[in-house]
Symmetry: C2
Subunit: 324 residues, 2 copies
């Protein structure tokens, strides 16, 4: 089975549909990977593109795509609400299955080297591919944006990882990296008391002493008539879903509040679910037949153990890939 | 009721008993606070001193004690295994009851100012009293130790918070600060499988993504014939005991291992127990009569809910203070 990564380049154009189509064209109709989606945002003036498949096959098309963006986007004229420093602003490789973070970091380096060498664009490595601690978080690199980067890149501290220490005059610069998928996970509380969602959020989120990779806050779902703890999980391996789910249930006990259901926003890798099913099956004293379970069975088991609502096999990333 | 702090100065002398007695003498026989203990360590060549009581009453005696240390300890001749930068190396104020962190920070500042002004010793503020993020952790300040501090203190980055940027020639320099009490808490697992204690430690400790202020590792208790998760809790307000205890129980479920008991090493403030009893009483739907509970009742309730073994009222810090 081929390795599968998710690759999510962001381009600094979200208004001119025709231009976006021309930039994205080199990413269409490949055997080794799929162009899953692209979502232009006019306010941000930015488009988020999602690719899924074999990273080896993505490299040359990505290079052609970046070359198109260099040709068609002039950052000197770009305005939008989202911070940005380049025509293709950021490009992460995200391990989904059959590949680890180290391999994704290697692909980030291969692509970065070619972007600098063939397209004359300076490259910063970020996330797990970062070469310095300060470059791990993208906002640190991007600070000053396109306009400030002209000066910033000249100093020793912000010398690019590939290429020369001057921005491309119209493209700017790009961050290429590797990171775990971000899981958007919300847990429903059977109450409309937002204070309870606040208190539970504080108990579990990293910023107030809870689980390191969990960002959490309270939300009130007007139409459904209850509150929830809404979360981003930045590292589902160190902070698995079951542990967060069970801790929220434990905290809810003191408020006499039930935790009837939860939801995944967007897609999640199969591995996220499997890691948590291992816990629930072990607690029940049952063995989990990981290798032989079909994706539809995994989805059903997830619904049963997490109370996922509006969930189906199509929310598992791997279900969106046909085997070649 | 008077405010109560714990104050724990460390001196760089752990071998010469007579000298230690002379240095400590100004801390004895006061009405407003008690000299609870002092524990010389010959290998470290260091003595940890514990005071308990009203911080206002401690200030002048502490100053006399530091003056004695300045007189009797020459850091140019000091050798020991523990890192150190001064004759009195570190001096934290720890809020126990009737006082908050802000007030402890004020006492650290008052004492620091007098140490610099009256004794000509440069002072660094650390912990919650730190004036810069980098000075929060004591090891950052102490790096280079007495020998390296001569140079280090001259640069802009390590200008002392009080006093001039040169060490006292024989005393060195001192860190004065404010911090929460450190809780040493061990949870017993009904198994002799150390791997299970390792896995649970990894799940809960900050360094591997768990609760931020929890340091945890596995331990095998040879004589008792079982393993435990052994912990330091650096902030019991953000990481309360009940949450750690319940999370360990939740993780133990997957290993089919019981969590029969736990233990507190050293003393804990009443507040630590009360905060967790609030949880257990709320879960049971009972109200906790915080104001009217006697310390002995609090100790009993803690034993019941945490399975504390070898625990009694004497382990609660407040039980060691007679009201004046």
């Amino acid at each position: 089975m081929r390795p599968i990564v998710q690759c999510v380049p962001n381009i600094s154009e979200g208004r001119d549909k025709e231009k976006i189509e021309r930039i994205i064209e080199p990413l269409k109709d490949h055997n080794g990977f799929h162009l899953v989606s692209y979502e232009p945002d006019a306010d941000y003036n930015r488009t988020v593109i999602t690719l899924l498949g074999d990273p080896e096959e993505m490299l040359s098309p990505l290079l052609a795509f970046i070359e198109r963006a260099r040709e068609l986007i002039d950052m000197n004229k770009h305005k939008g609400e989202h911070p940005r420093m380049g025509a293709v602003d950021v490009l992460p490789f995200i391990p989904i299955s059959g590949i680890d973070m180290e391999a994704c970091t290697r692909f980030a380096n291969q692509l970065g080297k070619r972007i600098a060498g063939e397209l004359d664009i300076p490259v910063f490595l970020y996330g797990e591919a970062a070469t310095k601690k300060k470059r791990k978080r993208l906002p640190n690199i991007r600070k000053g944006e396109f306009e400030g980067m002209k000066e910033k890149i000249r100093g020793n501290e912000w010398h690019p990882d590939y290429g020369s220490p001057r921005i491309h005059p119209s493209f700017g610069t790009i961050a290429v990296g590797a990171r775990l998928p971000l899981i958007a996970y919300n847990i429903d509380l059977a109450t409309d008391n937002i204070e309870i969602a606040k208190r539970i959020s504080r108990a579990i989120r990293g910023s107030s002493g809870g689980f390191k990779h969990v960002q959490a806050g309270p939300a009130h779902l007007q139409e459904r008539g209850h509150v929830q703890v809404t979360m981003n999980i930045l590292n589902y391996k160190q902070n698995p879903l079951y542990r967060i789910h069970e801790t929220v249930k434990m905290e809810a006990l003191r408020h006499k509040v039930d935790v009837p259901s939860s939801e995944i926003v967007g897609l999640i890798p199969k591995d996220t679910i499997i890691r948590s099913l291992r816990y629930y099956y072990a607690v029940k004293g049952q063995s989990l037949d990981e290798e032989d379970m079909r994706l539809s069975e995994i989805a059903e088991a997830a619904k049963e153990h997490f109370g996922f609502r509006d969930f189906g096999v199509e929310k598992i990333i791997e279900a969106n890939i046909e085997e070649d």
